[in-house]
């Protein structure tokens, strides 16, 4: 082909994986997996940073524990558990299909993971909020 006219190159923006246009259910699982992953990594570092209070001494830690019992922190706890459920249950699904187990029913497993996530999220939210009283 004559090379005097160049085609429009592909623009690969780093966030292109988050382009939701026309995507279907498997893609949502992938996006959910990735968003929960980013959230959990942030939480991990935050958690480790907070634990450094333990090295400071008993008062520092007990002050933090008191703060952690506030409703906003408890809500964050629930979000954390939802993230863990999304990532963990879908992770089990991905491991299974990655080793060739249950590939034809990957969508069924996804819906199962969604249902379990919802059920366990509600149960843990109830447990967390009732525990304080």
């Amino acid at each position: 082909m004559a090379s005097d006219v160049q085609p429009k190159p592909v623009k690969r923006k780093p966030i292109e994986w988050f382009n939701l246009k026309g995507k279907r259910v498997g893609f949502w699982a992938y996006v959910g997996m990735r968003l929960s992953a980013i959230g959990l990594v942030l939480y991990l570092f935050l958690h480790l940073a907070v634990l450094s209070q333990l090295a400071v001494g008993p008062t520092a830690w007990d002050n933090f524990v008191a703060l952690a019992k506030s409703p906003i922190f408890l809500l964050l706890d629930v979000i954390l558990i939802i993230g863990i459920l999304v990532h963990g249950l879908n992770g089990i699904r991905l491991s299974l299909i990655g080793f060739g187990i249950g590939v034809p029913s990957h969508k069924l497993m996804l819906w199962l993971a969604v249902i379990l996530t919802i059920v366990f999220s509600i149960l843990s939210a109830l447990a967390i909020f009732s525990e304080t009283h």
Binding site: P7, V10, G22, K23, R24, G26, V103
Partner: protein, 240 residues
Amino acid sequence: MKLNVKIYRYKPGTEPHYDTFPVEVPETANVLDALERAWADHDMSIMFRHACHHASCGSCGLLVNDQEKLPCVTPVTDYGEGATLKIDPMRNMPVITDLAVDASVVYQRMELIGMPIIRNAETIRPDKRTILPEGLETFGRFENCLECGLCLSACPVMATDPQFLGPMTLAAAERLLAEPRGADVDRVYRLVDDEHGVWRCHSSFECTEACPYEVDPGAAIMRLKRKIGMRKLKRFFGGS
């Protein structure tokens, strides 16, 4: 049946825009027929790739309402009377003009794997035997993969990583490992067992959704992962 086709228009050096044309096609028509009507009745400068019109050449892949379709086998009735079909070129490939993309990556990657287009045809007999006519050693047929590139367009990893081999390529590798036809199997393993090979896949199955011809690249990649994983583990634990 009356439809509107809203077509992506692009000439190098100008801003892309959409042109909308009303078309009338019979109920039996496919999206490609609607596109051809817009071309013939309204604007013969619309450039789109097409050849066989029966899902064999794999040249006409594009996006209908943002989803990867082979328009020659996508019935207009999927969209209904009076619908507006938004037609875009495939993603992750350079756009030559309008809907025509530079799909060279498709053939280059297939050539890299080296899967021949001819395979042994499955039997069509109910008892699963194959009875051949005199003079033939086997029934051959073209592979399912049309090399249309729709899976490369749909894959979210292809959208960020140009080095990723892509669903089509990995599915071809899996086919070749299943029926090597004299190919160098170790070379194929070396190619796909790579950070930008099979392990880059994040199992979103968009390729499977996009595939117009039962290749099911998503499932093929999973089989490939299993094959490679098992091979690795075997070697690691002292097998051969």
